[in-house]
């Protein structure tokens, strides 16, 4: 049994409209200094398969081959960005995760036991932990059903 973490995000040449919308909402909050927001959907996949199979899942199920790319095994982080990850608390219904289990099985791939989903955000610009927590709590997550974690840029 292995735990895979897959990030699905827009290719650099495709506008990340979700990210742009969030940037507008952040400005609405009166927070300035952030230049760009990029987003990704994160899948935590629990199953007994190897990297080649994960590639198939990424290509055929999770990412739109025209506009999106995926990464697993390594994070798609840069040294200069802040990152924020939001995930469901245990026990909260994750409908997309459940559908992903079915999607993987429908591809003829056996061995998937569970999928949980979440969101990841990369922020370029000037930021501190306090501001990031405000953004998370006011815009990007609901503490009733979700938790978040974040990382500062590498010094």
């Amino acid at each position: 049994m292995k735990n895979w973490k897959v990030e699905v995000y827009y290719k650099p040449e495709v506008p990340d409209t979700v990210g742009q919308g969030i940037l507008e909402d952040i400005t609405d909050l009166g927070i300035n200094g952030i230049d760009a927001v990029r987003t990704a959907t994160v899948y935590w996949i629990e199953g007994s398969f190897e990297a080649e199979t994960m590639d198939r899942i990424g290509t055929e199920l999770l990412a739109d081959p025209i506009t999106q790319a995926y990464a697993f095994g390594t994070d798609n982080d840069t040294d200069t960005d802040w990152t924020l990850e939001v995930q469901f608390k245990p026990g909260v219904t994750d409908a997309v995760g459940d559908s992903t289990v079915k999607g993987i099985t429908d591809l003829g791939i056996a061995g998937v036991t569970a999928v949980r989903t979440g969101n990841k955000y990369w922020f370029t610009g000037t930021l501190n932990t306090e501001v990031l927590e405000t953004i998370a709590q006011r815009l990007l997550m609901n503490e009733v059903i979700q938790t978040f974690s974040y990382q500062a840029p590498k010094p």
């Binding site: 909402d25 909260v92 219904t93 409908a95 559908s99 006011r138 009733v144 059903i145």
Partner: protein, 796 residues
């Protein structure tokens, strides 16, 4: 796993502690009744039993306020005893109107009316306010999911064909510093709610085609989310029954800890700790629900089950308890399919996990049902049997954990006697700006633009565009109409049976601002508005049914209840006068916010949503609100009065006023009937009702939706009293009024037809983009272009 709740020895304080800490929302009187009942049984209740009783007796499930006796007093009038608001004002109206096309009213999960030789229509509107306040996306999504299951749980199951949704939010520009503690920002609620409704409706392939969005600061902590669904059901599938020996079968999603205590939670006020009530949050899965619909409609057509209901508030406890009310039922909770281990029996029993239905299946049909479910990849689990014991018996791993008499459960609730008081409020009044200094240069152009841009009137296109309204292929009049498909339609029209010209109109009316003056007038105006919207697109009063949804503050407070009495009384008076019966309804009370540190308490404006459904014989007679051809005449139908209390014109100038639009149903009925006939004879090219912002806003919307200007004069407006003030003529919100567009060739016929009804020619459609209005004295009071007006309206 099962706890005994020590109530036999408890004193009153201890009883209330049990109710409060267990989140049971039971009153002292109710706790004492339960104590007395178990006293005669000489045992304590189990947690399963007390939870079952709390759920069955919750305001949410049993509507105590609408059934209880009310002692009502009003200044200058003799005190009055009302034996149940529901039976006195709502049900009685329907009984007296006695429409033969009402198939089932107030008894099933939704109301049923006749449609054609083959099908009937079901219609239900629900609220999901408390969950949407805590988690907007999940709360609103499961709201729409829940009301779809109401249609599916009516009769033997209706096919969902249309969703409606109406939202009330706090002001989008609320500063964060003024946000009540523990509440989400109105913008956040707005976005989440819209996304939740969108994702559920779109993914299930149901058009979301009618709705409204309102804003008021008092909705900040208590947003309102009304979700409605219309379904189509074969005429021979409208009745249900349960026989002893039928199997209790759960269909759909697995059971988890989601939404525990939803029924009792929604019967309590929110406070600043509510945000942390994680267990009440429900998350929806529309794909699962779509599969359930697909499986159940096949099983219904093969007659595989005898009864069906949805698992809404109260979960299995509510569903099985209601289905077995007349006969009895026994269930085995360990057989229920669970999302994860570790649930206590009472949690399995009360869970409000979404996307679950319960059906009563004769044992000989089980195999065939299971085959259908397997083919549609839907889980079906037998977990009990209906019996003839008149008891609700709950087992867990062979041990009985709950054993209640159906009689006590469903009829043991002591009905409270409540006090209600109504005192008419007094607000500062606003004088017409037509009088005084500088009048000769006074223009109302800016007022009109400001009204069009105000949040309640402004275009909701950015929201409507997120909803699929074309799916299923039957839409005749969309929510957005006009030459560029962006004008505000009065109502939607759809043909649920493709190929047939028979249509369904769905409309709504809601006017909480008038509640600040008088809830009676607010309720009356909501009915009038819903009916105006039906008539404006080509419907008739004769074939229209109504739904009522009351959202109110805490009804234990006499002033809030007094307002409820006023509104309910209006429902009776106006519905009977128009001859339009109520077929279903719902109430959501306790929409109040309490700040636990300051003790500050705030209720929402008393809000009644009226939803109307009308069967239209021929969709080819439907008209839209956008003007069609230059040179055509614009007529006003219906009298204007100086009624600006609670109006948007007063609102943008910071006033409430005291003269809210009165209701004259005799006049209104005649006007609507005559106008319906004119529309159905093809003499009307476009028609728009006058509501928020009065004639000024209605004319502007017709003009920019059609892409032509207008040249109008206010002296053509028929009035019921002398009005000199141009602004009052232009922006008064009197009921029962319309603007219609008539071709010159039909002018004489139309005028002859309307004889005896107040009407007047207001002006013409022009072939330029100029929008001009002359006041009573002939002076130009509005001078602008439809492009300026439209961009003001769209700038939201």
């Amino acid at each position: 796993m099962v706890k005994e709740i020590e109530i036999l020895t408890a004193d009153d304080a201890e009883l209330m502690r049990i109710s409060r800490e267990g989140m049971l929302s039971l009153s002292l009187n109710e706790m004492q009744t339960i104590q007395a009942h178990f006293g005669t049984l000489e045992r304590n209740p189990t947690d399963v039993e007390i939870e079952t009783i709390a759920q069955t007796w919750s305001e949410h499930c049993v509507h105590k306020t609408f059934k209880s006796t009310i002692l009502y007093s009003e200044e200058g009038k003799a005190p009055e005893q009302i034996d149940g608001l529901f039976s006195t004002f709502i049900q009685r109206a329907t009984e007296e109107i006695a429409k033969p096309w009402c198939v089932s009213v107030f008894s099933d999960n939704a109301g049923i009316i006749e449609f054609d030789e083959q099908f009937n229509l079901v219609f239900k509107v629900e609220t999901h306010n408390h969950p949407s306040a805590i988690e907007p996306y999940g709360g609103a999504g499961t709201g729409i999911g829940g009301v779809i299951r109401d249609s599916l749980g009516t009769g033997l199951g209706a096919k969902p064909i249309l969703n409606t949704d109406v939202f009330c939010f706090g002001m989008p520009d609320t500063p964060y510093t003024q946000l009540p503690k523990g509440t989400l920002h109105p913008k956040r609620v707005f976005k989440g709610v819209v996304a939740g409704v969108r994702d559920y409706g779109n993914r299930m392939g149901i058009p979301t085609a009618n709705g409204a969005i309102l804003f008021d600061a008092r909705y900040t902590a208590n947003p309102l989310v009304f979700c409605g669904n219309v379904g189509l059901i074969p005429r021979n599938r409208c009745e249900k029954s349960v026989e002893p020996g039928d199997l209790v079968v759960a269909i759909g999603g697995q059971t988890g800890r989601d939404g525990i205590h939803g029924a009792t939670f929604s019967s309590a006020e929110l406070d600043d700790t509510s945000e942390s009530l994680g267990s009440v949050v429900q998350i929806g899965n529309p794909i699962m629900e779509k599969k359930i619909v697909d499986a159940l409609l096949q099983a219904r057509d093969r007659n595989l089950y005898r009864s069906i209901t949805d698992c809404g508030a109260g979960g299995f406890s509510s569903a099985v308890g209601e289905m077995g009310e007349e006969i009895g039922a026994e269930v085995h909770l360990e057989r229920v399919s669970l999302k994860y281990e570790g649930l206590a029996p009472w949690e399995i029993w009360l869970s409000e996990a979404q996307e679950r239905m319960v059906i009563a299946v004769p044992p000989e049909n089980l195999d065939e049902l299971m085959e259908i479910c397997a083919a549609e990849v839907v889980e079906a689990t037998v977990f009990g049997t209906f019996t003839d014991t008149q008891r609700l018996q709950v087992f867990y791993e062979g041990t009985i954990v709950g054993d209640l008499e159906m009689e006590f459960l469903h009829h043991g609730l002591p009905m409270p006697v409540k006090e209600a008081v109504w005192e008419p409020p007094k607000h500062p009044d606003m004088a017409s700006r037509d009088r005084g200094i500088g009048v000769e240069n006074l223009s109302y152009t800016k007022d009109l633009e400001q009204l069009l841009a105000s949040p309640n009137i402004a275009s909701k296109e950015s929201v409507i565009r997120q909803y699929d309204h074309g799916v299923q292929g039957g839409m005749v009049i969309n929510p957005l109409v006009g030459v560029e498909n962006d004008g505000p339609s009065d109502a939607c029209v759809t043909t649920p049976v493709l190929g047939s010209r028979k249509g369904v109109i769905v409309a709504n009316g809601i006017n909480p601002k008038y509640s600040d003056v008088d809830p009676y007038l607010s309720a009356a105006a909501a009915i009038d508005e819903a009916l105006r919207n039906v008539v404006a697109v080509g419907g008739t009063l004769e074939k229209t049914a109504l739904l009522d949804n009351f959202c109110w503050g805490n009804p234990d407070k006499p002033d809030r209840l007094g307002e409820l009495v006023r509104a309910a009384r209006a429902c009776y008076d106006i519905a009977t006068a128009y001859g339009t019966p109520f077929i279903s309804g719902k109430d959501s009370l306790y929409n109040e916010y309490r700040d636990t540190t300051t003790g500050e308490q705030r209720a929402i404006p008393s809000t009644l949503l009226i939803s109307a459904i009308c069967v239209m014989p021929d969709i080819q007679n439907a008209v839209t609100m956008d003007v069609k051809t230059p040179g055509n005449f614009i007529y006003v139908v219906g009298n204007t009065y100086a009624e600006l209390g609670g109006s948007h014109y007063f609102n943008i100038h910071g006033f409430v006023g005291n003269t809210a639009p009165a209701i004259r149903p005799g006049e209104g009925k005649l006007t609507m009937e005559r106008l319906s006939a004119a529309i159905n004879r093809g003499w009307v090219r476009s028609c728009h009702d006058c509501s928020e912002g009065g004639i000024g806003v209605a004319a502007a919307e017709m003009a920019f939706a059609g892409g032509y200007g207008m040249s109008l004069r206010l002296d053509g407006i028929p009035t019921g009293e002398d009005i000199d003030a141009d602004d009052f003529l232009l922006f008064s919100e009197s009921n029962s009024r319309f603007l219609v567009e008539i071709e010159p060739q039909h002018q004489q016929t139309y005028q002859n037809h309307m004889a005896g009804i107040p009407f007047g020619c207001l002006g013409t459609v022009s072939d330029t983009s100029e929008f001009v209005i002359k006041g009573k004295s002939g002076r130009l009071i509005v001078e602008t272009s439809i492009h300026t007006l439209k961009s003001a309206w769209q700038d939201f």
